[in-house]
């Protein structure tokens, strides 16, 4: 083993001095040795090992041969890659335009897990569920393997020649070339797009299917700044949201959740914040609010105006127009305005509506409250949504009129999600050349002439500036799997430049970024530093107060007039509220089975959308969950199953976007109904609400694939909640309950006792942990029919209970996974000892011993065990990611893929525990608190889950276990779980 062999390919190589000056650089074992130290001198044991191995090898080779499998394909191993040791690369998420920073875990050259980048001061170490799932969309079989020309595979060179010629001709002939892109957050790419579209005849339009154009227009009108404000939720003591799902999908959910959760803990240093939400459908955000007031979508503007009037009056301005508040909850408005005013300077009013006047009214309210410069940051603006609805509408007009010669579509799918998709599709036929950068033949690319598939963001270079002067880089974590090309490189080629976006990116940073910092002197230093960290924080501008310019009173007047002239609503009509769901967002990820199977945080429904209606409306119309109704909105009709949603505003229906795709891939096609056609433009911005829709039953019934069908705690103390006042009082006076007595002797203790603490005040229910666990532990997807039968496989689930009245319930969420009970009921009943307790406190499931009697599942009071009812991997019946070689690449090699007939459950990421212990052992130290994080704890943007060693009294998890708020679920059964929950405290 100590002998080093050097191989040379040619005489020149033998004679030439070693490149890099170091002979060891070519030694393929250098990396390994660096990690594990120099090999010991060969001992007798080595000899015996070798001898034994050789004999075994001889014997084995003499026997019949099995199939040869290439385990480690590297002949020349790159020095940074060691089989079995993961590499981490910092990059930026491309799942949506929020551009959170990520760390990607790669094994053997392929990314298998996504985590947040804790270096980022904006986003922190958490991610959302979509971010977690993007690693699977890399391994999507529906992706294009190469460019297409008129539906047939073509060569890049041919395409480039054709397009470049076309573009050149177009410019010369005075025809128009339009590039339609999603919001591009990367400054380098933005510059490239500007270069591309800056030429005469070229134009760049930004199109967001879920648009914040009104907020941008309003900010420009009110403050003269052409961007979105950066809302600093963490600085707000009082937050009032009007139909803004800022914890779930609006603008920057990971950042907002992190900030929000920090101040929702009653122990928060700055004091617990107060959150009031006015909304129609029950959103993730609304379900976390202290006070939730139902309004109809048509009342969003008047609610904002009502609050503005009260705030203005409090500040001494009574000139605002009267508005009829008879249909609003005046007391709630008074209370909300009062809270906002008392916390002025530290309060925040936000609305997710896409109506410019409403946003101007909200800006005015924030300005009067003195929030500009504190919670509303207009200096370090948000660049996360830059769509322009009016420009897109004009584009469709121009296309229909034949004024557009070439259309380039970058990251957009208007045939699916445009407000008038039929018109757009028809208009496409009038465009001479359509080029799409879509990664698959989606609804739009199916009508495009040329498809030049873009890389997945995990394969590509890029950068991001989601918040002004907060930069991050994106680097490839895997060489492009297919013959795809970065959209930027396509554009560079067609610009006649070198198709090397990496150089372009570096040049951009060299030119624009390095001058604004002083930490690194050379560009290479800056580049390596930033690439390693993933983030680069430019100088943060001091937030200043910006004066409110613009005629906000006119906007207020318009709102008032519109409400007054709204006309009588017909009694039998509903209002439609269309929203972006947490799992599927705008539908780009419809082919991602993890996201399709992720239960909606509020309704717990998977694999399809539904029409959420209030219980009172349901009983009045004689509808039950599952009845299929037809929604008619001025001629447009969709049929959806009903879901009776406690807390839904009366006479409103909420329906999620992102479903009803027809060309996303075999997983997403045909799932749900597309409601993008029900949106429309009004006043230059896209509206996601309709009035005067009718609801008629069709008589059909569908079984919804829900993972939780019972929503009441039945009086059982499962999620404990209390009010802030009670909590403070009892904390000072009360004592903690003891563990119930037990007959059993104490277990012999090993060195560690792994446990968890989950803070129910911080947990919002976003379900990022669910997808993270699925990614980390190779949890299979089972599909809609199996979910209907109650067989979803998620190891961690978010239980959601309603308390209080059906029409305005409080929502309580509780992440539930294996509690790793000290007196586990599952252990004594397994006949073959397939579930046993480890000396470090884990309840272990031994897959290869399990014969599947399922007594452990029956005896678990928490019902956290999951049985493999079928063979889920490599089974055509479950044709998801585990049934094709590409999808199998996402599997975590440290975790067994379970066979049929075997029980599985949360293992507290034992593979991570083992890796952490090994690292510590190798470094000759003890495991430190925070070294090991389970996937769920790592992914949580709210940092609600804490994992650690209960045997260490100073660890964070031990302190939380002793906290006054801490309790165990089903304590009275004597199971002694290692998972402690911290009771939820409401700011009532």
């Amino acid at each position: 083993m100590a002998v080093e062999l050097k191989f040379w390919k040619s005489v020149e190589e033998l004679r030439a001095p070693a490149i890099g000056g170091d002979a060891e650089a070519r030694d393929c074992f250098a990396g390994q040795r660096a990690r594990s130290g120099p090999p010991p001198a060969p001992s007798r044991r080595d000899f015996l090992t070798l001898a034994g191995f050789s004999i075994a090898a001889a014997a084995a080779s003499a026997c019949s041969r099995g199939a040869v499998q290439k385990a480690i394909p590297m002949v020349s191993q790159p020095e940074e890659m060691t089989p079995g040791v993961p590499n981490w690369y910092a990059t930026t998420c491309g799942g949506c335009s929020t551009a959170c920073t990520l760390l990607t875990k790669t094994r053997d050259g392929r990314p298998i897990k996504i985590e947040g980048n804790a270096e980022s001061t904006v986003f922190g170490g958490g991610t959302c569920a979509v971010g977690q799932a993007t690693v699977l969309s890399l391994y999507d079989e529906a992706r294009l393997k190469g460019p297409l020309w008129h539906g047939q595979p073509a060569a890049w060179a041919d395409i480039d020649a054709h397009v470049a010629q076309r573009l050149a001709g177009t410019a010369a002939a005075g025809k128009r070339v339009v590039l339609v892109s999603k919001t591009v957050v990367g400054p380098a790419t933005r510059k490239l797009l500007a270069d591309f579209a800056g030429r005469p005849g070229f134009e760049h339009i930004v199109y967001d299917p879920v648009s914040c154009a009104a907020l941008r227009d309003a900010t420009r009108a009110s403050f003269g700044i052409d961007a979105l404000p950066h809302y600093r939720i963490g600085d707000a003591r009082v937050i009032v949201g009007i139909e803004a799902d800022f914890l779930g999908t609006w603008l920057s959910p990971v950042e907002f959740t992190r900030e929000y959760a920090r101040r929702r803990r009653p122990e928060a240093a700055e004091g617990m914040s107060r959150h009031i939400q006015f909304e129609s459908g029950v959103s993730l955000t609304g379900s976390n609010a202290d006070v939730r007031v139902t309004i109809r979508p048509s009342q969003q503007a008047t609610t904002a105006l009502a609050l503005l009037r009260r705030i203005a009056r409090a500040s001494g301005d009574t000139s605002l127009p009267e508005v009829d508040e008879s249909s609003l909850d005046r007391r709630a408005l008074d209370a909300a305005a009062d809270s906002l005013w008392r916390a002025r300077g530290e309060s925040l009013l936000v609305t997710g509506t896409n109506d410019v006047d409403s946003q101007i009214v909200v800006h005015a309210a924030n300005a009067l409250l003195g929030n500009i410069g504190t919670t509303v940051d207009l200096d370090n603006v948000s660049l996360q949504k830059r769509g322009d609805d009016a420009a897109f509408a004009r584009l469709v007009e121009d296309m229909s009129a034949g004024r557009v010669d070439t259309l380039i579509l970058y990251g957009v799918n208007p045939v699916y999600d445009a407000p008038d998709a039929d018109r757009f599709r028809a208009a496409l036929s009038r465009v001479a050349l359509t080029v799409s950068f879509a990664d698959r033949v989606d609804e739009t690319a199916a009508h495009a002439d040329i498809v030049c598939p873009d890389h997945h963001f995990l394969e590509a270079w890029g950068d991001a500036e989601p918040i002004a002067s907060q930069y991050s880089l994106a680097q490839p974590t895997i060489a492009p799997i297919f013959d795809t090309r970065a959209a930027q490189e396509s554009l560079l080629t067609w610009l006649g430049r070198s198709p090397d976006f990496y150089s372009y990116l570096r040049d951009f940073w060299r030119g624009e970024i390095i001058p604004v910092q002083s930490r690194d002197t050379t560009f290479d230093e800056l580049w390596d530093h930033s690439l390693h960290d993933g983030v680069f924080a430019g100088p943060v501008r001091v937030t200043t107060h910006k004066p409110l310019v613009g005629d906000w009173k006119a906007s207020a007047g318009r709102v008032a007039r519109e409400q007054a002239g709204g006309g009588r609503r017909e009694l039998d009509t509903f209002e439609l509220h269309i929203y972006e769901p947490v799992a599927l967002r705008d539908g780009a990820h419809a082919n991602n089975p993890w996201l399709q199977e992720l239960p909606d945080p509020v309704s717990k429904i998977t694999w399809g959308n539904y029409a959420a209606i209030a219980p009172a409306d349901a009983s009045r119309l004689g509808l039950a969950t599952g009845d299929v109704v037809a929604l008619d909105a001025s001629g447009r009709r969709v049929e959806l199953p009903v879901h009776v949603q406690p807390g839904q505003a009366l006479r409103t229906v909420s329906v999620a976007l992102g479903y009803g795709r027809t060309r996303s891939g075999h997983v997403g096609d045909g799932v749900g109904v597309n409601v993008f056609p029900l949106t429309r433009l009004e006043g230059g911005t896209r509206r996601y609400a309709r009035t005067a829709i009718t609801l008629t039953r069709t008589g059909r019934v569908t079984a919804l694939a829900t993972t939780q069908s019972h929503h009441s705690m039945e009086g059982r103390a499962i999620v404990k909640e209390t009010s802030l006042g009670d909590f403070v009082e009892r904390r000072d006076h009360g004592d903690e309950p003891d563990d119930p007595p037990t007959l059993w002797a104490e277990r012999p203790k090993g060195g560690h006792n792994w446990g968890m603490a989950i803070d129910l005040s911080a947990c919002t229910g976003c379900s990022a942990c669910v997808t993270a666990c699925q990614a980390e532990n190779n949890v299979p997807v089972v599909g809609r029919d199996e979910v209907r039968r109650g067989r979803e496989m998620h190891w961690i689930r978010i239980d959601r209970y309603y308390a209080g009245s059906e029409n305005s319930p409080r929502t309580l969420v509780q992440p539930m996974m294996c509690q790793h009970c000290g007196n586990a009921p599952c252990e004594p009943v397994c006949p073959v000892l397939a579930t046993v307790h480890s000396s470090d406190g884990l309840n272990q499931q031994v897959y290869n011993r399990c014969i599947g009697t399922r007594y452990c599942e029956n005896n678990c009071p928490y019902k956290v065990r999951r049985f493999n009812w079928f063979e889920y991997a490599r089974n055509d019946r479950f044709d998801f990611n585990q049934n094709n070689p590409l999808g199998l690449m996402v599997l975590n090699p440290d975790v067994t893929v379970r066979s049929r007939g075997v029980m599985e459950k949360c293992s507290l990421c034992v593979q991570r525990i083992q890796a952490g212990k090994l690292d510590a052992h190798r470094e000759g130290r003890a495991v430190a608190d925070g070294d090991i994080q389970t996937a769920c704890a790592q992914a949580c943007p709210a940092e609600a889950i804490v994992f650690g060693d209960l045997a260490d009294p100073d660890s964070r998890v031990s302190q939380l276990r002793r906290a006054h708020r801490g309790y165990h679920v089903l304590d009275e059964l004597g199971t002694r779980p290692n998972v402690t929950y911290l009771a939820k405290v409401r700011n009532a």
């Binding site: 011993r849 029956n858 019902k863 089903l970």
Partner: protein
């Protein structure tokens, strides 16, 4: 034939209770009058006739039906083992339903046979002699049906051998003796072994009788092998009596222990509705009840199919009805106790479970069960009901249905709504589960129909002994 009968006479002159004195008395009394001869040989003829004749059309019809049911079951089981437990209606909350219901159902049924052949033997109840053989056979077949279910309900049945504590090189890896499922393994195996041995040993003299009656050929060879060289001598008979008594003694505790252990599958669990010390006696009473129900069904069918009214008389049916009245009342008392205790201890989970049982999604199952198991047996107070064979037949079917429902209710209502309401689900069986249940009935009845065709379904030697001990001839009232 005469010689054999004389041998038989010699033996059977001495009823079992005076076995010891018989050994002392070497003198052999003279054969009795020809009337006795005729009576005893008639017994043999009556019982042996079906074995020699072609089966009747009724038998063929029954056999065809049960063979078809068996085929359905085999197909369903094969599909389930090949594809996965997912073809059943189970889910993440309800891990057992039809599978363990059927298991407990069939094990329970077996208890009647053991009670009749073993316990009643030790209690010297003469009237058991014409029914004990078929009752014991019913036990064997019921245990076979029962044993099938733990095997097929496993997710990986090809690794079922893991439950045996065999020496291995993995540690060695031991099984979990704290697990009731493991106790089941031993209990069922023990039950099967003892019952089989007891049943077979009980048939040896009858195989000898048939051997001696048979013409030379295959039949004679088989009966010779089966009778293990039985020669009917004193010594043989006295040893035989001892052995029988010992086996009966071994089998007796099984009546209590096996179903107590099976009930521990539930009683040792933490689930509300399962977690109760009442289960062992409750289940044993229920087992005897359901077993007698099945015995009644079978015997009523066979006595008319095989024309054995002379042997399976109203007296037998009456006695069995009384046992069912007793055990049915015990079961009713157990239901009342469960509900009372749930109310008394105030445990919210337990109260909720019982409330759901009576009013929830399976409420109509529950009330049917109460009607069949608690209300119906009270009809048996009336001797008119007990004397009416059709009413007893209908009643026995109701017992079977009711007892199957009882196990189903216990299992599924406690599982589908337990501690955390977030995991509450509904449960619905699939066609495969129903097909497997039908298949188990098919297996049972196929085995039983073959038994009555191929083996002496009434214990010839015991009936003869009984008829002699009663003093007069074998003329018993049909």
């Amino acid at each position: 034939m005469t010689m054999v009968d004389r041998q038989a006479d010699r033996v059977l002159r001495f009823p079992m209770r005076v076995v010891a004195s018989a050994r002392a008395n070497h003198g052999l009394a003279e054969p009795r009058a020809d009337r006795d001869h005729a009576a005893l040989s008639r017994i043999t003829d009556d019982v042996a006739r079906p074995l020699n004749r072609r089966p009747s059309a009724g038998w063929w019809a029954a056999f065809a039906a049960s063979a078809l049911a068996l085929l359905v079951g085999v197909a369903c089981v094969a599909y389930e083992i090949a594809t996965g437990i997912g073809v059943w209606g189970l889910n993440r909350t309800v891990g057992w339903a039809f599978d363990i219901t059927n298991f407990v159902f069939w094990v329970g049924i077996g208890h009647a046979g053991t009670l009749i052949s073993a316990i009643l033997l030790l209690l010297r109840q003469q009237w058991r002699t014409s029914i004990n053989r078929s009752a014991e056979a019913m036990t064997i077949f019921a245990v076979i049906c029962a044993a099938m279910f733990p095997l097929i309900h496993m997710g990986r049945p090809w690794l079922a051998f893991y439950v045996f504590p065999y020496p291995n090189s993995r540690g060695p890896l031991w099984v979990n003796f704290r697990s009731p499922l493991l106790w089941d393994v031993f209990a069922i195996n023990t039950y099967m072994t003892i019952s089989l041995v007891f049943w077979y040993v009980g048939m040896i003299p009858d195989f000898a009788t048939l051997r001696d009656r048979a013409a030379a050929g295959i039949r004679k060879t088989i009966y010779s092998l089966a009778s293990l060289g039985w020669n009917g001598s004193h010594r043989t008979w006295s040893r035989y009596e001892t052995l029988n008594t010992i086996l009966a003694g071994l089998a007796t505790p099984l009546v209590i222990s096996v179903h107590s252990i099976v009930s521990m599958d539930f009683a040792t669990s933490i689930l509300p509705g399962w977690h109760t010390t009442l289960f062992p006696p409750y289940f044993v009473a229920g087992a005897v009840y359901s077993g007698f129900g099945m015995v009644t069904t079978l015997l009523i069918l066979t006595r008319s199919l095989m024309h054995l009214e002379r042997y399976i008389t109203h007296r037998h049916l009456d006695a069995m009805a009384k046992v069912m009245l007793l055990t049915g009342s015990l079961v009713a008392l157990s239901y009342a106790t469960e509900f009372y205790i749930a109310w008394l201890n105030g445990n919210a989970f337990e109260r909720a479970t019982f409330y759901t049982r009576a009013t929830g999604p399976f409420a109509w199952f529950f009330w049917t069960m109460v009607a069949c198991n608690a209300v119906a047996p009270q009809l048996l107070w009336s001797s008119r009901v007990r004397r009416s064979v059709p009413m007893l037949f209908v009643f026995s079917i109701a017992v079977n249905i009711g007892m199957w429902l009882e196990r189903f209710i216990i299992i599924v209502t406690s599982l589908h709504r337990s501690y955390l309401p977030s995991s509450w689900v509904s449960y619905r069986p699939t066609a495969i589960e129903v097909g497997t249940l039908i298949g188990s009935f098919g297996l049972f009845f196929t085995c039983f129909l073959l038994f009555i065709r191929l083996l002496p379904m009434i214990a010839i030697w015991e009936v003869k002994a009984g008829s002699l001990a009663s003093g007069d001839g074998a003329e018993q009232h049909a």
